[in-house]
């Protein structure tokens, strides 16, 4: 993986840069120019079936996300942001492909007035409702954002090495439109089961992948109804990796998504749809979810969610259409303090997303898993 902090030299470079910033900023009120924020979610997870999302049958406390974000405001319109992160995914094979401490973001942002900005470096991809805050446990109703739409993520967010430009088209209007365009490339992990054949046993694989020549746009429309917005986006890229090489057809991967996000006084309602096509003739991945939450008391909320994923994949024996994942969940969260939230969630899942080998034609695996977690942020 290219994302982890690769050497003492690189770490020394970051430390040196921060010390330089601190020294230069002392006279300008360092406490207001250099801000440090962070969050941590620690969970306990267990499942009734085979391992799913790194959760073993006998349970695990090795389930955690944490991040430390440093934000330095060099001038009125110039900001430098670095985020480092830690993730543990129980007994998932993914743990062996990520470093304990990983560089998640490192980007410079310049604002051109009030309505236009550009980010250059390693920055979160503007995709959907939650990509940029996908692991912020004090905000999320469940331990993770809907898996079908967001997957597990490169680390604390899907990021790109490149540039992101955002612009507000009609500021001050009740119909505010915010657009983003992005270009670059990114590393990610490809996961999947290789079915058994007469000559070889099946194998669950986690391999490094690379998406190149990424171009995308996203638009959000804020409606006059306070708290309600709708959005959508599209992107194309070239995927490289052992698994994508097997399921991709000719041409680029095309990605489309749409979102509805409603956050009202006590009610939260969200739905998103995503369609990924891995080249002409390649695999097709379609997913959607609906999520409804209600704040029963000031500190107590309950949320239900249905997450659906279908996969249509070319095989040696023809195309195979799978009801890849069906995950129904209910979660309760309690806010002990503004920055301390406890959650308990139960999931009932049918599908092929578990970290076991499933042969084509085998029935879907039924899994009931639960996660109890505590999140803090500052």
């Amino acid at each position: 993986m290219a994302d982890f902090l690769p050497s003492y030299g690189f770490r020394a470079l970051i430390a040196g840069a921060l010390l330089t910033i601190a020294a230069r900023s002392n006279a300008q009120g360092l406490s207001e120019k250099l801000l440090i924020h962070g969050y941590l979610t620690q969970g306990y997870a267990t499942t009734s079936g085979p391992m799913i999302l790194g959760i073993p049958n006998d349970g695990t406390f090795d389930y955690r996300r944490a991040a430390l974000l440093l934000r330095f405001k060099a001038a009125t319109n110039d900001v430098f942001v670095v985020q480092i992160a830690n993730r543990r995914l129980g007994e998932s094979e993914i743990n062996h492909h990520t470093s304990e401490l990983q560089l998640d973001w490192a980007f410079y942002e310049h604002n051109f007035g009030e309505n236009t900005s550009i980010r250059v470096g390693k920055a979160p991809i503007p995709m959907g409702i939650s990509n940029e805050t996908r692991f912020l446990g004090t905000l999320l109703p469940f331990y993770r954002v809907p898996f079908g739409f967001y997957q597990e993520g490169g680390f604390t967010s899907e990021t790109l090495d490149g540039a992101v430009v955002t612009h507000k088209f009609n500021p001050g209007s009740a119909w505010l439109v915010t657009g983003a365009a992005f270009a670059g490339e990114f590393n990610y992990l490809q996961t999947g089961a290789i079915p058994a054949t007469e000559n070889s046993p099946g194998q669950y694989l986690v391999v490094d992948g690379r998406a190149r020549n990424l171009f995308g746009v996203q638009l959000w429309l804020q409606t006059p109804l306070p708290g309600l917005r709708v959005g959508g986006g599209a992107a194309r890229r070239q995927d490289e990796g052992t698994i994508s090489d097997q399921i991709s057809g000719r041409g680029a991967t095309r990605d489309f998504w749409g979102s509805v996000d409603g956050s009202f006084d006590r009610l939260t309602a969200r739905a998103e749809y995503r369609n990924l096509t891995f080249g002409e003739g390649g695999a097709k991945y379609r997913t959607y979810y609906g999520q409804v939450g209600y704040r029963i008391l000031e500190a107590l909320s309950i949320t239900v969610q249905r997450d659906v994923t279908d996969l249509d994949v070319p095989t040696q024996i023809g195309r195979l259409a799978l009801k890849y994942d069906r995950d129904n969940a209910i979660g309760v969260s309690y806010m002990f303090a503004p920055n301390v939230v406890g959650k308990l969630e139960l999931h009932d899942a049918h599908g092929y997303g578990d970290e076991v080998v499933v042969n084509y034609g085998d029935p879907a695996i039924h899994n009931r898993y639960s996660i109890a977690s505590v999140s803090v942020s500052f």
Partner: protein, 157 residues
């Protein structure tokens, strides 16, 4: 374009530029005395404290300063200007912070602390409980309610 003053309380005490009260708390918006601005629309004040406006018309950086979340003054200001609860604003800022976009205005614990900050920074804007002795170097401004953009916006971009 119709502009109406905020609430009955402001009509009767327009010179003090007070916002409506909740309970016994009334709030006024203050800027550095060197600031040429004398009035702002409520929407503009909201945008300033949401960090959606960053400079005054003279190009100087706007430096909003908040009060502690538990402060009654903060609760009234958030309700009347942002039209949100403090908890909703906390959620808003968490999303902004952890998506790398923004940071909330710095917080001060007391009215005196806010006034000290505003007095020390020519671009600062804050709010304090009505009746607080502003002292020198700080002045109150009038906050007007309005539907859409109005002349009050001319005081800053």
């Amino acid at each position: 374009m119709g502009i109406r003053l905020l609430g009955i309380a402001l009509l009767s005490v327009a010179s003090s530029a007070a916002l409506p009260c909740q309970g016994d708390v009334r709030v006024i918006v203050v800027v550095n005395a060197a600031n040429a601005t004398s009035e702002l629309s409520r929407d503009r004040v909201s945008q300033i404290f949401l960090r959606q406006l960053s400079t005054w018309t003279n190009g100087q950086e706007i430096l909003p300063v908040d009060q502690n979340e538990k402060s009654p003054t903060r609760i009234v200001f958030t309700h009347d200007i942002e039209r949100q609860s403090v908890s909703s604003m906390r959620r808003y800022w968490q999303e902004r912070i952890f998506s790398g976009h923004d940071a909330p205005p710095p917080e001060r614990v007391t009215d005196v602390d806010v006034l000290t900050y505003v007095r020390s920074n020519p671009g600062a804007i804050g709010y304090v409980r009505e009746g607080t002795d502003l002292g020198t170097g700080v002045k109150a401004i009038i906050v007007k309610d309005q539907s859409g953009n109005g002349s009050a916006d001319d005081s800053h971009r």
